[in-house]
């Protein structure tokens, strides 16, 4: 039964209206960022452009040392994503592929940990980070607090639960004969995990990598609370500093925010399928 023509037309109208509503904030920000502050101060943002320039982007980039913040994001995101996937997949392998007695209890522990609001644990975590010493080559402050490593660790710990949940569900769908055959051939646990199971999990790993990269790159809360100095902050949380720095020039803040969005926009254009697959893996079993 085909939907009636009337309801199709209504659906189209509704979706077009939503499309416009959804695009407006982004397009409007781009428009403001492309206009000189002098012009918008005089005529407001809603006015025809006298000139469109990239000056705000250039100024935001150079005056705020954005390159530096991008590097911070890179130093934190890449190790955090790789570590999370490695640790989560090894843990998931044991609880889902070996008949391990405590597997359900452990899965519950990890999954629940991922669902806690960050603010539940931040107060003791903050004190914990101030109490754990690190060698100076790892952290200038000599503490877990205000170090790249500290931020990597909390991102890994916080994302582990979701990845363990997804990967163990995924691994459960692989045939049991896989391990059995490898055991007959004398393969040890490590070989079966690393050489046999992981390659078969490639679709799930790719989806999770995309999701984790976006989430960790977009993280704001951990960086705001566990990094005190502005110059150590990754770019997403550094936006809060830039907002203070450029307080008189909203156009430049918009430009800085859009520059900071470029990595996620690349993921959006190139890896949208992977991202959606990752979200869907977490919500449907198997």
């Amino acid at each position: 039964m085909k939907p009636s023509r009337l309801s199709s037309a209504a659906a189209q109208v509704f979706m077009v209206v939503m499309l416009v509503l959804w695009l407006t904030p982004v397009v409007f920000a781009l428009y403001v960022a492309l206009r000189p502050i002098a012009e918008t101060n005089e005529h407001g943002y809603v006015s025809l452009p006298r000139s469109l320039t990239l000056d705000n982007f250039r100024a935001a980039w150079t005056q705020s040392d954005m390159w530096h913040f991008f590097l911070n994001s890179l130093y934190i995101t890449v190790p955090a994503v790789l570590l999370t996937l490695f640790l989560a997949s090894s843990f998931a392998y044991v609880v889902s592929r070996l008949r391990f007695r405590w597997n359900i209890a452990l899965l519950i522990l990890f999954t629940a940990g991922n669902l806690l609001p960050q603010q539940v644990i931040i107060t003791p975590l903050f004190r914990l980070y101030l109490a754990i010493p690190l060698p100076h080559w790892l952290s200038e402050s000599g503490l877990m607090y205000n170090s790249y490593l500290g931020l990597i660790v909390i991102n890994v710990a916080f994302q582990l639960g979701f990845c363990v949940f997804v990967l163990s569900n995924y691994m459960k769908t692989l045939p049991a004969e896989l391990d059995e055959a490898a055991i007959v051939d004398g393969a040890g646990v490590w070989t079966r995990y690393w050489r046999l199971t992981l390659p078969l999990c490639r679709p799930a790993l790719a989806a999770l990598a995309t999701l984790l990269t976006t989430w960790i790159y977009n993280d704001f809360f951990w960086a705001i609370t566990l990094i005190s100095t502005g110059d150590k902050r990754p770019v997403t949380s550094a936006l809060a500093n830039l907002q203070g720095q450029f307080v008189a020039n909203q156009n430049m803040i918009a430009a800085a925010a859009l520059i900071a969005a470029i990595p996620t926009l690349i993921v959006y254009v190139a890896l949208q399928k992977q991202f959606i697959a990752g979200l869907s893996l977490g919500s449907t079993k198997g």
Partner: protein, 316 residues
């Protein structure tokens, strides 16, 4: 195959594969979660250690910070009675949840249903509606400030309220700013829910829909009586996401208020954070607010875990 039949090397490998993630999770998630319960009964500025003595028994000298001490349930009674941000924060978190549950989530579901019907242009609609999910909340807060800007912004320009004597301060006015932020948050949340439901709708057996239609059910009836109940696992996930995201709401408020408390935007998550990032640390009281947040969030978490692991407890 049981653990005992592993050889020595396999045993060590398994121990490491389990142990390392477990230690990280325990040390940085569960230890702080449990510690916040303990600390919630103390008074501690972060100076000196925490002593297991009642605060009343310690001398209190003005100007010298007390070490941490046991404070009983004082923090809790203080939160419920004298702390001015507490009840506004609870109220705002509830409003946040109601708007998500009553508006953003149904809207996302509607998007999914319309797109799933395969109307023309559905791929473009999906891509655009999903865009905000990719963006950080910090970025979302910043770009919406341009929409809400009192003197220059889109909304005030369109409705002609940009003059200093008649402008609407969407983000500053305590009776408006929560709602303004909820529009931003819903803009993102609806796309998130849409993606989850699109996955759910694809997983529903098409035969169900056909059978319902052969029986003469209308589209509306088919959805609510057949498709929606069949998506039970997704419904639970969406419910959990809706509740947890409402409790986690923080980034938008922080960006909008520039990190300072802003009247009208009190939230539990913001209150917790203010007790550690401010000049004076109130570790005990911050933990108390954290525990209250924990107690609330355990409800949806338990429901989700029950749903997700119920089937596995029973023997296969």
């Amino acid at each position: 195959m049981s653990v005992s039949r592993f050889n020595r090397r396999d045993g060590l490998v398994v121990a490491a594969m389990l142990g390392v993630p477990l230690i990280i999770d325990a040390a940085f998630i569960w230890l702080p979660a449990l510690a916040s319960v303990g600390l919630s009964f103390t008074k501690w500025t972060g100076v000196g250690g925490v002593q297991l003595k009642s605060c009343d028994s310690l001398p209190s000298v003005p100007g010298i910070p007390q070490p941490g001490c046991l404070n009983g349930v004082d923090n809790y009674s203080q939160a419920f009675t004298t702390y001015p941000d507490f009840w506004p924060a609870v109220q705002h978190n509830i409003i946040w949840l109601l708007v998500f549950a009553g508006f953003a989530t149904p809207l996302g579901m509607l998007f999914a249903v319309v797109i799933d019907r395969g109307i023309r242009g559905s791929r473009i609609y999906q891509s655009v509606l999903f865009l905000p999910v990719m963006l950080s909340l910090a970025l979302i807060g910043i770009i919406w400030e341009l929409i809400y800007s009192p003197n220059y912004g889109l909304i005030n320009s369109v409705i002609g309220r940009t003059a200093d004597d008649n402008l609407i301060d969407w983000l500053g006015d305590p009776s408006l700013n929560l709602w303004a932020l909820l529009v931003e948050a819903s803009w993102r949340q609806a796309g998130y829910v849409m993606i989850l439901y699109l996955a759910g709708l694809k997983a529903v057996d098409p035969a169900l829909r056909e059978a319902a239609q052969i029986d003469g059910a209308t589209g509306w009836q088919t959805f609510w009586r057949v498709i929606f109940p069949a998506m039970r696992p997704i419904n639970i996930v969406v419910m959990v996401v809706t509740v947890i995201e409402s409790l986690r709401a923080f980034d938008l408020v922080y960006i909008t208020s520039g990190g300072n408390p802003l009247k009208g935007l009190e939230l539990l998550s913001v209150a917790v954070t203010q007790n550690i990032v401010g000049e004076t640390q109130r570790i005990g009281f911050g933990s108390t607010l954290g525990v209250i947040l924990l107690a609330i969030s355990l409800v949806p978490i338990t429901i989700f875990l029950y749903q997700a692991f119920r089937r596995e407890e029973s023997p296969k």
